[in-house]
């Protein structure tokens, strides 16, 4: 305020005007005034001391809106910037602290980066401390100034005060770049050997960071690790174990080297458990649980795939498992780590059962965290220790009702893994109940799981169909697209249940036509078995009375309903058409078909036009074309690429190829006209029989029929040209439906070179003996993992090959594990199996590629 007054006086004096107050002021007086004025201005215009951190925080917190806060911050940033420009050492620390606070709120602070460096270089501890904090928050590897810190850190690592050394170690350990680590590794290593335990702890973890950044430097720290475990100080022990763990996980050589430490680790763990109350590291009565957990983890790594080490730790693991207090989370944390270790090493079966029982007890715990970890672990072990996990089945099923979504999901996965022939009925009841009430995100997976389980273990056909019905009616819209053809095939093959099935499906349609998969399956069935429906032939339950017209009403209703998708409409139109040979009301059907031949939907239109043509020009073929479907054999289960075969009666086998595409197509319907006759799986069949005539609407059908000599009625299948691919021909040789016999075929070594060995094991595909199922096992005897491993195979033209996905693409070193992959080879002409394989992988950093021929297949694999 003063300055304003004086400057206004100054102004007035300058312009020669005087205001009323100073009208009669003599000149000398004015000159003195001027002198005072400048003095005051100097004082007032120099920057005031920057405000304290606390005050800034308080001020910012009073801001009521985001805009107000931003304004305050901008103002303060400007003040800080000016202060930085003045190179004022006194307030730098305060300013940087304020800058860091504002940075935490989300505002940019990069102009303070250099200031942090200056603080680090200062001698005052308070400066260094804020400087290092600033470095950790503002300076990451990507900043250019990052490297400038190296020298400061180096000096500070050798500082006389341990707290300064600590700061330097901490900063290096949290965000040191690879170059910095390389430069300073020596200093860290020195500090690892110091007697000061405060520094040793920090140095150990700093070393961990260095190793992570520059793995080659690991060797450097080896000498310092010699006596790490004989430390009494828990903190040093803890960080040493972490360092050892990191080294062992990174390098198989180190792992071998440190295996000899197992007895020492076991002893330390024993002391921890047996020793009395140790107040410094006690948590709820357990001495240093964190150290126990880390030791258990290190033991796990050391004992993995090594019998001797695993044996040496058996006792202590059993002891920890039985003696640890389970009333609080901390005890359970230790138990959990113990279980993980037991499951990973080569433990004896008694110990494994103990571990699974611990997990079972966890499931009953009130704490949902513990239930969650138990379910996660059980899921991992259910394949290997199936029987032991089965014992806890009822508890697992109870977890389906848990409130937490992740627990429910794991319980569901685990439940499906536990379903077998003995418990299928009970389990399915629970799972169907779950399906009814679960969240939508689960429904698709649950439905698929139910179908899979039902297919594997259904106690009876009727039960199977009922289960499918239940899923379709309760979760029908969540069912996966590929279940529709699977279900249709299942129904077709359950011959004695046709009447029952169609009746139930019809009734379901009357209730609800919104769930598309249900509607599609139902329309297909009605089209196929409509005659059974109206004749009331059902044995399983009370047959319903329904007329042909009622059935046609329902199907036509689907055609016009808004709820029906185009795919569904296709299904219902075809179903209506099929009924023309099963029902007597042919005229009605003819009318419907002709109406739709001018439908806007191109797909429907084409179908209608072709059916129309069938009525008009090829009526003599209609009965045969629309005959009952034969039983279909399935050679692959629930895979996206199914190899469908027909094993039917000779007469309608050829025309049935027209039906197959319609059935296998539903989900992947393209509007491509040509696709009508070419299904995903049946392309090879059609391609060889279709002559190359120009495509035209309805033309395809005629071409197919025109190609085969059908003039004198239907020719039996053998007259079909020899160039036809194996699928059809195979289906016609006499084969029982489900072939159970598969003589054991000896395994063989397909490839063995440079430490990589690939073994083939065989089994016959059930039920088609023309398909050999080969499982490859790839193992690696070298000391480095083979990563990015890819196995490719090629076979001669008379064969067909299908490669399923591999178990992983890393072949672990020293035979610690194997990669498996399944190959299916179709060999209908029973030719000698030959294969060319191509292997690519990365070994010790360099890519490797090899080609090889495999000719030594045992005769039983292809005969």
């Amino acid at each position: 305020m003063c300055s304003c007054y004086y400057s206004s006086v100054w102004l007035h004096v300058n312009t020669g005007e005087c205001n009323l107050a100073s009208k009669h002021v003599p000149l000398q007086y004015l000159i003195t005034l001027h002198w005072f004025e400048t003095l005051f201005l100097c004082v007032f215009q120099r920057m005031p001391a920057p405000i304290r951190l606390r005050e800034l925080i308080r001020t910012i917190r009073t801001a009521r809106t985001q805009a107000e806060e931003r304004e305050m911050i901008q103002k303060e940033c400007a003040a800080i910037r000016s202060s930085f420009r003045e190179e004022d050492n006194t307030y730098r620390c305060r300013n940087v602290a304020k800058l860091l606070y504002m940075h935490m709120l989300g505002y940019p602070a990069h102009f303070g980066q250099l200031e942090c460096l200056k603080l680090i270089a200062s001698q005052k501890f308070t400066d260094k401390r804020i400087g290092y904090l600033g470095a950790m928050l503002l300076l990451d590897e990507r900043q250019d100034v990052h490297l400038l810190m190296t020298n400061c850190i180096k000096n500070d690592l050798n500082h006389s005060t341990q707290y300064v050394q600590g700061l330097a170690l901490c900063t290096l350990g949290c965000m040191g770049s690879s170059e910095m680590c390389r430069d300073l590794a020596g200093e860290v290593e020195k500090l690892l050997k110091t007697s000061n335990s405060y520094l040793r702890k920090k140095a150990a973890l700093c070393a961990v960071h260095v190793i992570r950044k520059v793995p080659e430097l690991m060797e450097m720290f080896l000498p310092a690790t010699k006596n790490l475990l004989s430390e009494k100080n828990h903190g040093v022990l803890h960080t040493s174990v972490v360092l050892l763990t990191e080294m062992c996980e990174r390098s198989p050589d180190m792992l071998l080297h440190f295996r000899k430490l197992v007895p020492q680790l076991v002893r330390i763990l024993k002391n921890l458990i047996m020793s009395g109350y140790s107040p410094e590291h006690d948590v709820s009565g357990i001495s240093d649980p964190f150290l126990q957990v880390r030791i258990l983890r290190l033991l796990r790594i050391l004992g993995r795939s090594d019998d001797d080490s695993s044996e040496a730790m058996n006792d202590i693991l059993a002891q920890v498992a039985t003696n640890t207090e389970t009333s609080k989370n901390v005890g359970n944390a230790i138990l959990y780590e113990t279980v993980l270790t037991i499951m990973d090493i080569k433990s004896e079966s008694g110990l494994r059962v103990l571990a699974i029982n611990i997990l079972g007890r966890f499931l009953l715990n009130n704490d949902k965290n513990i239930r969650y970890v138990a379910l996660t672990s059980l899921l991992k072990t259910v394949q290997t220790d199936h029987n032991a996990v089965q014992r806890h089945r009822s508890t697992i099923v109870d977890c389906l009702k848990d409130l937490d979504v992740s627990i429910k999901r794991r319980a569901m996965e685990l439940s499906f893994a536990l379903v077998n022939g003995n418990n299928i009925r009970g389990m399915m009841k629970e799972l169907l109940y779950f399906l009814d009430s679960c969240d939508p995100e689960f429904k698709a997976d649950c439905a698929s799981g139910v179908f899979l389980a039902a297919e594997k273990y259904a106690p009876s056909k009727r039960w199977h169909i009922d289960t499918i019905m239940r899923v379709l009616t309760t979760a029908g819209s969540y069912v996966r697209d590929d279940s529709v053809p699977n279900l249709i095939q299942l129904i077709t093959n359950s011959v004695e249940m046709h009447a029952y099935t169609v009746q139930r499906l019809y009734k379901a349609l009357l209730d609800d036509i919104s769930q598309q998969p249900l509607v599609q399956v139902s329309s297909w069935c009605i089209g196929e078995y409509g005659d059974l429906l109206v004749s009331g032939q059902c044995e399983e339950e009370e047959p319903i009375q329904v007329t042909e017209d009622e059935v046609l009403d329902v199907l036509e209703g689907l055609l016009v309903s808004n709820l029906s998708t185009p795919v569904t409409r296709g299904y219902s139109l075809t179903a209506i058409m099929k009924l023309s040979t099963r029902f007597s009301s042919v005229n009605r059907i003819k009318k419907v078909v002709s109406i739709y031949s001018s439908s806007i939907d191109v797909e429907l239109q084409q179908r209608a036009v072709e059916y129309n043509a069938l009525f008009k020009k090829y009526d003599h073929m209609r009965p045969a074309l629309l005959e009952r479907m034969p039983i279909m054999e399935k050679t692959a289960s629930n895979g996206p690429t199914e190899i469908m075969q027909t094993n039917g009666e000779t007469e309608p086998s050829v025309p049935d190829t027209k039906h197959l595409p319609l059935v296998t197509q539903p989900a992947n319907q393209a509007n491509d006209l040509l696709d009508l006759l070419g299904g995903n799986d049946v392309v090879p069949v059609i391609q060889t029989t279709l002559p190359t005539k120009p495509a035209s609407a309805g033309g395809e059908l005629l071409d197919l029929l025109g190609d085969l000599s059908l003039s004198g009625g239907l020719a039996p299948a053998p007259s079909v040209p020899v160039s036809q691919p194996p699928f059809l021909l195979d289906g016609l040789s006499s084969q029982p439906l489900f072939n159970d016999t598969s003589a054991a075929i000896p395994p063989m070594t397909a490839y063995s070179k440079n430490g990589l060995k690939i073994e083939f094991t065989f089994e016959r595909a059930n039920p088609n003996p023309n398909i050999a199922v080969i499982t490859i096992h790839a193992t690696n005897t070298t000391e480095a993992d083979m990563t990015e491993f890819v196995f490719q195979a090629a076979v001669p033209k008379t064969f067909q090959l299908q490669l399923l996905s591999p178990s992983s693409n890393i072949v672990p070193a020293l035979n610690q594990g194997s990669v498996t992959q399944v190959i299916r080879v179709l060999n209908p002409q029973k030719q000698q199996l030959r294969m060319r394989v191509k292997l690519t992988y990365t070994h010790k950093g360099s890519p490797v590629q090899d080609l090889a021929e495999v000719n030594n297949f045992p005769p039983q694999s292809w005969q």
Binding site: L100, C174, Y198, H234, V293, Y336
Partner: protein, 159 residues
Amino acid sequence: SPGTVLETHCTRRQNISHIRFILIQNRAGKTRLAKWYMQFDDDEKQKLIEEVHAVVTVRDAKHTNFVEFRNFKIIYRRYAGLYFCICVDVTDNNLAYLEGIHNFVEVLNEYFHNVCELDLVFNFYKVYTVVDEMFLAGEIRETSQTKVLKQLLMLQSLE
């Protein structure tokens, strides 16, 4: 995008599991502490903070204290209005880290004498000191509360 950064880091370090970051946030999403043990840009950090906040505040007492987050998982616990979150690898021991969080909070409580959010706000640089005394390089470093408190008091006397 943070997703790809985290994923690349994941594939590069196959078996190694450690802490990726520690966050303290309040219910409104204001960060009271952010300690990163991996390299991120400022924007990536901000995005991660927002995502963690979104994922964690939506959960209540009937959920577990673990939540899957991209290729990792977050162990978290709510103390009054603050969420303490630690991001670790999927293979890490959830229960042990839960204990780690509690240990950390107990130290804060002791150091600030019945700590409340404002303590953490006005003394944010001291909170970082506590973190750096108990964690380093993404690992738990010192677990003894008495030892940590002793060190903190020593450091304080140097100011």
